[in-house]
Amino acid sequence: MGKGKTVIEKIWETHVVHSEPEKPDLIYIDQHLVHEVTSPQAFEGLRLNNRKVRRPDLTYATMDHNVPTANREVIKDEISRTQMETLRRNCEEFGIELADMHHPDQGIVHVIGPQLGLTQPGRTIVCGDSHTSTHGAFGALAFGIGTSEVEHVLATQTLMQSRPKTMNVKVNGDLPAGVTAKDLILAIIAKFGVKFGTGHVIEYTGEAIRSLSMEGRMTVCNMSIEGGARAGLISPDETTVEFLRGREYVPEGEAFEQKTKEWLSLASDRDASYDMTLEIDAQEVEPQVSWGTNPSMVVPVSGHTPSIDDVENKDEVRRALEYMGLQENQPITSIEVDHVFIGSCTNSRLPDLVNAANIVKGHKVKQGVRAIVVPGSFSVKLQAEELGIDQVFKDAGFEWRESGCSMCLAMNDDVVPAGGRCASTSNRNFEGRQGSGARTHLVSPEMAAVAAIEGNFMDVRKFQTGVLS
């Protein structure tokens, strides 16, 4: 056992406010992010008990789940409107900064945190949203919480948490050309299952992780929860520092250099040990496509849906195939889609859109396919438009939308109809996730772009070279 510490232990130990044997630790929360769906009952709880928000200055709110992406002025659902209005009133009453639907900083909460520099290494970050793990890409300890915990953080700026176990997910070697961060995390969950991370915080390590951009790292950490881990993170390095330099909420000048030293010192020590280590070879990862109704039901695009005879969980697989309208042992490339969604907190950042646009350029969306691009934030949308990417998508027949969570969970009007089949860059393929009876296939932005053009799944590497086998 080494004497060194992991980044997880370093962050935990500096945030313990109070500790007692046989009880969870009381830990301090540095940054609380709030959105409209999981907060109304928490604010109501404060009011009923005559409590205040302890640190409005460490709290930041936005609207993302319900916001319309076609036309900001048209909210068809009265209850959606009420939920957004409720957030606005709560933020006013309790003095919390809010990026509402029309604010230039609005976006998916897990896109704007990093974009604004609210997400920083070493911070404890929570949000009433399970994809808060995204912020772990910066070497922050970030995890999703329920509404009772949201209320607890609002009132006390702390949380009662049991000290998590640590897990090292080591990705050896480099990813092959044409294989993305999304393919990597899907392959990890396919290999280790939907609950391998339960009770743990994952640290992703290895060459392939180091080579990823911050956006790629966010994609990986984002889906930690799909493997059962509340949090997944990556030790801070120069890539982290350079991403944060100049961001709105990050200090400048000498103060930034000071911060940089502090951040880099958080990286896990060489002789740190973990409660558990899992390894995967990056070279064996291919572009991935999910075929079933949980995020471990994933195979390479060259593969097939499973044969019932080959699996142990026969009932689960049979039910998933039935829901998905697929046969056993069916080639993935034979699956035809009628919807394509490029967006969500997993894959809606500028490089995601640029990479998809590079595929789309000069092609047309297949007839009968409805394809939409929903940028992760207003700022991502603007930057993309400055690069002319919106035009590339529009010329090909994609719809170019305003930012929000959109078709990832279909709480607004962006719904896949019953029986519809969607190639989606989001994170969950649960039954009914994108609409009642809708069928979701999780893929990378590049693979989604190819599916939009071809109308079925195809290896993006073959599409690019034009060599079909």
């Binding site: 700026q157 039910r319 969970l409």
Partner: protein, 196 residues
């Protein structure tokens, strides 16, 4: 939350693994701004078709399981979204106890905070109880104080973290407990402020 020391009730066997919170309460019902009223929507897409008619292959609404208050389910129950609407819906429907081989982390915390007793039991035991529940021969008494589940003949002990148990037995509010440590929180904040 309400204190709970024991519970006796009818069991609904949900013989599925990895039941995610999107199934427990689909997103179209997350728009309410209250904590109550979610029970009618629990397992909505499994219980009802698009026209709101009860589906025959999901028996929660059948006479056999009417008024069930104990849920026995497969592993990794409550995975996915952090929505606390899931335990709110289960509780509002009438479930006081959930027994499964394992639970997802966020759901585990959320459910306890609302006064639901979560019990982890081994898979063989769960399978036996599922079968008995389907036969209608399992009407357990859950005793939180002594940490046992009994059905008249057999008594099975269970583990539960002591701090969750204490809070359930007393109906304690987490925030009130934490506010008793306000001086510690202040001291932490002062130390941090001095560091910057």
């Amino acid at each position: 939350m309400e204190a709970i020391k024991e519970h006796t009730g009818k069991v609904f066997p949900l013989d599925r693994s990895n039941v995610d919170t999107d199934q427990i309460i689909p997103k179209q019902f997350l728009k309410r701004v209250e904590r109550t009223g979610f029970g009618q929507f629990v397992f909505y897409n499994w219980r009802f078709d698009d026209d709101g008619n009860t589906k025959s292959n999901f028996e929660l609404d059948s006479d056999k399981y009417k008024d069930a208050s104990i849920l026995v389910a497969g592993e990794n129950f409550g995975c996915g979204s952090s929505r606390e609407h899931a335990p709110w819906a289960l509780l509002d429907f009438g479930f006081k106890v959930i027994i499964a081989p394992s639970f997802a982390d966020i759901f585990y915390n959320n459910a306890f905070k609302n006064g639901i007793i979560l019990i982890k039991a081994d898979e063989t035991q769960i399978e036996e109880w599922m079968a008995q529940a389907k036969d209608g021969t399992f009407h357990p008494h859950v005793d939180l104080v002594n940490q046992t589940i009994s059905d008249g003949e057999k008594q099975v002990p269970f583990d539960i973290p002591s701090y969750h148990k204490e809070k359930l037995l007393n109906g304690w509010d987490d925030i009130a407990l934490t506010l008793l440590l306000d001086d510690k929180i202040k001291a932490y904040e002062e130390k941090q402020a001095a560091r910057v």
